[in-house]
């Protein structure tokens, strides 16, 4: 059960190897967290991550979850919510893909959109239903600032996050004023495994900063959080940059 100050006792992470998600779990482990479930495509690959969380005194389960296998989602969610409450679901899976390939390869572009957007929609609907039956809980969805103004350099990824962001906001509106809290998290450039080899964008940040923003957002029951916080003001400004300037910025 989440307490009055937003500290949660249980978390389910979809995309359990996400570095942002793991940083968040570690932050929560220093508070009231008792149980974490890491849902990952390949459970064997997550044993190290699980052990590190266990070392913080949290009981950890690693379960198999494939975001792209939408057929399996309903049964997966039903199993997750069977015996105990889940205070927080962190939707953290996603792929960046290869934009250069996606520029011409529809199959690859669809793969990105399928995992990041369709996969998320497919699992978020039963999660929100289960949480509504449970009567309480937070769903935090990792979106991106790319959802706010898509960039040429990764526009397929951006468009998948834009779709996910819009969906998450709609879900938040649907559950406003209830015990279910839905939040979109829009990090800027974060140095992780996923962005290795990429040129850091301005306002680049770290997983710890994003984790802190997520934890603060849960407490404040925010609908949208940015990390770093300054992007809350930067992104609306970038949104109104005229197209011809935006193209020149080579963002």
């Amino acid at each position: 059960m989440r307490d009055a100050l937003g500290d949660v006792q249980s978390v389910l992470v979809l995309g359990g190897r996400s570095e942002i998600a793991l940083a968040t779990v570690h932050l929560l482990a220093g508070q009231r967290l008792q149980r974490a479930v890491l849902a990952v495509r390949n459970p064997k690959a997550a044993s190290e991550e699980a052990d590190r969380i266990r070392a913080a005194g949290v009981s950890v389960d690693v379960v198999k979850f494939d975001a792209a296998d939408t057929e399996s989602h309903a049964a997966f969610v039903a199993a997750m919510f069977t015996d105990r409450d889940i205070d927080l679901v962190l939707v953290a899976f996603g792929i960046v893909g290869d934009q250069a390939q996606a520029d011409h390869d529809a199959q690859h572009a669809l793969e990105i959109v399928h995992t990041n957007f369709q996969g998320a929609v497919s699992v978020l609907i039963p999660i929100a239903d289960a949480m509504s039956r449970q009567g309480h809980g937070t769903i935090a969805v990792l979106s991106s600032v790319a959802a706010v103004r898509p960039r040429r350099a990764n526009f397929v990824y951006s468009s998948s996050k834009a779709g996910l962001d819009a969906f998450t906001n709609g879900l938040a509106d649907m559950y406003a004023g209830t015990g279910v809290h839905v939040m979109a998290v829009r990090p800027g450039f974060v140095a992780t495994r996923m962005t290795t080899g990429m040129k850091p964008a301005p306002f680049a940040t770290t997983t710890d900063v994003v984790a802190r923003a997520i934890v603060d957002g849960i407490r404040a029951r925010s609908t949208v959080v940015y990390a770093p916080a300054i992007l809350r003001f930067v992104m609306p400004a970038l949104q109104i940059v005229p197209r011809f300037v935006w193209r020149k910025m080579r963002a």
């Binding site: 989440r2 307490d3 009055a4 009567g135 015990g179």
Partner: protein
């Protein structure tokens, strides 16, 4: 048998911090209660969510809500059944408020022995939290003669300190987790007037205040100190001490003495429905506390005021928690035994240092404890303070307070709590295991649950 009203509702406590959704039933007969408990105990869903009783929603945290489960509201069980003048007892349904009880009893020359700091508390809630007030010689359940408790496994039971005593004392302060109270008989205090004779004294610091509170020479029945917890340094704990007795007819001016038990409802205003969060900050609170302190005269003085004016000053502002904005607030209330006064002082110091924008903190003391297995009162000092929920790092600050309280063998009050860690709670309540044994007998399948019980693993 008719069926009770049902609705789906998002509920939260008085601190407005932890909303959750429940199915709310409003039975208008005690006979409808067992069916509700049964329906949610054996609910076909994979998760049995259970039921919990709710009165007037004045628990600050998550005690009277049940996410995804049933909430049994006592709103339609609010009749005063019988006044026994000779025995000085009154039999009531659980939804009767202290306010309604006062309106009925005071003109008849009776007073509920223990009343809390607000009139908007139900008798059922009073039992569930074993509430206390400015009276320091006992808490609410010390004056509950008997009650009827609908339990999941054993059905309706008559309980009192003599009959089914173990169940009675598991229910006193048991936060509704032993059953649903459907009727109770309260022992009353006889009064001659509807007025209070109040002595007000300014205390320059916390030591001064505690010394004055320990001084019984005035023979007061009720006492409370309002502490300005933003004052620091030499002013730390500067406070206003109010002590009172029920006024005698001789205390009243002639025009009141003609009808000494006349009891009018107090004036009330509403707090604005919406307030910016920023309005409540250390500056505004400091100004308010300064004003509160200055409004009382420098020299000790004596006045005669109405019962609500003395007991329920905050009830004059309906919905006052809205000043804390949409993020709400937590009330931290603890008790430490006599001899551990330093804990009160350290906590005031740390709050002041952390610039926690707390409105007046309230200091009271208890002379006794009772056999309630989860009852809060114990001989010692109890301090209650409100803190905005968004204060940075608040849980760490309060966890550190919990450790101080625990070290002194004190405890925090469940009716106010919304955040204590389960392990610390268990260490604070030494009779928890015995309580669990009684509960397991009454409710082996956990048909009674609340957000609080889930949070604390009760």
């Amino acid at each position: 048998m008719s069926t009770p009203l049902v609705r789906h509702e998002t509920l939260q406590g008085w601190g407005r911090t932890s909303p959750s959704e429940s199915t709310v039933y409003e039975p208008d007969s005690e006979f409808q209660v067992p069916a509700i408990l049964e329906a949610w105990e054996s609910d076909g869903g994979a998760q049995r969510r259970g039921s919990i009783a709710r009165g007037l929603g004045r628990s600050y945290g998550d005690a009277a809500q049940n996410a995804g489960g049933a909430v049994v509201s006592s709103a339609a069980l609010s009749r005063i059944l019988e006044l026994d003048r000779a025995a000085a007892t009154v039999r009531v349904e659980p939804g009767v408020s202290i306010e309604a009880l006062l309106k009925f009893l005071v003109p008849r020359g009776f007073f509920p022995t223990v009343i809390p700091g607000t009139g908007i508390v139900s008798v059922g809630g009073g039992i569930g939290a074993d509430i206390h007030g400015k009276f320091r010689h006992g808490s609410f359940c010390d004056f509950v003669d008997s009650a009827t408790l609908v339990t999941p496994a054993l059905g309706p039971m008559r309980i009192s300190a003599e009959t089914n005593a173990d169940v009675f004392w598991a229910t006193a302060g048991g936060m509704g987790l032993t059953g649903v109270v459907t009727e109770a008989t309260l022992r009353l205090h006889r009064i001659a007037t509807s007025q209070m004779r109040v002595d007000t004294t300014r205390c320059r610091d916390i030591d001064d205040c505690m010394t004055a509170m320990m001084d019984d020479s005035r023979g007061e029945r009720y006492s409370v100190a309002w502490i300005d917890c933003l004052a620091n340094g030499a002013n730390l704990g500067r406070s206003i001490l109010e002590t009172a007795v029920h006024a005698t007819v001789g205390d009243l001016p002639a025009e009141r003495a003609r009808d000494p038990l006349a009891y009018g409802a107090g004036l009330s205003v509403s707090a604005p429905p919406w307030m910016p969060n920023g309005l409540l900050n250390s500056w505004t609170v400091k100004a308010f506390n300064e004003l509160w302190f200055r409004k009382s005269p420098k020299r000790p003085h004596r006045t005669t005021v109405s019962i609500p004016t003395f007991f329920h000053p905050l009830d004059m502002v309906k919905g006052w928690p809205s000043i804390y904005g949409r993020h709400g607030f937590v009330q931290y209330q603890f008790v430490v035994p006599y001899g551990h006064e330093h804990v009160v002082r350290i906590i005031l110091e740390r709050l002041s240092a952390a610039k926690c924008a707390s409105f007046l903190a309230v200091l009271k003391r208890f002379e006794t404890s009772n056999a309630g297995l989860l009852s809060f009162p114990m001989p010692g000092w109890t301090l209650a303070l409100d803190v905005p929920a968004m204060h940075p790092g608040l849980n760490k600050i309060l966890d550190a307070f919990d450790d101080l309280v625990l070290e002194a063998d004190g405890r925090v009050y469940l009716a106010k709590d919304a955040r204590v860690a389960p392990q610390r709670f268990a260490a604070m309540y030494p009779h928890l295991e015995r309580w669990r044994e009684v509960r397991a007998r009454l409710d082996p399948n956990c048909a009674l649950q609340s957000d609080l019980s889930r949070r604390l693993g009760l």
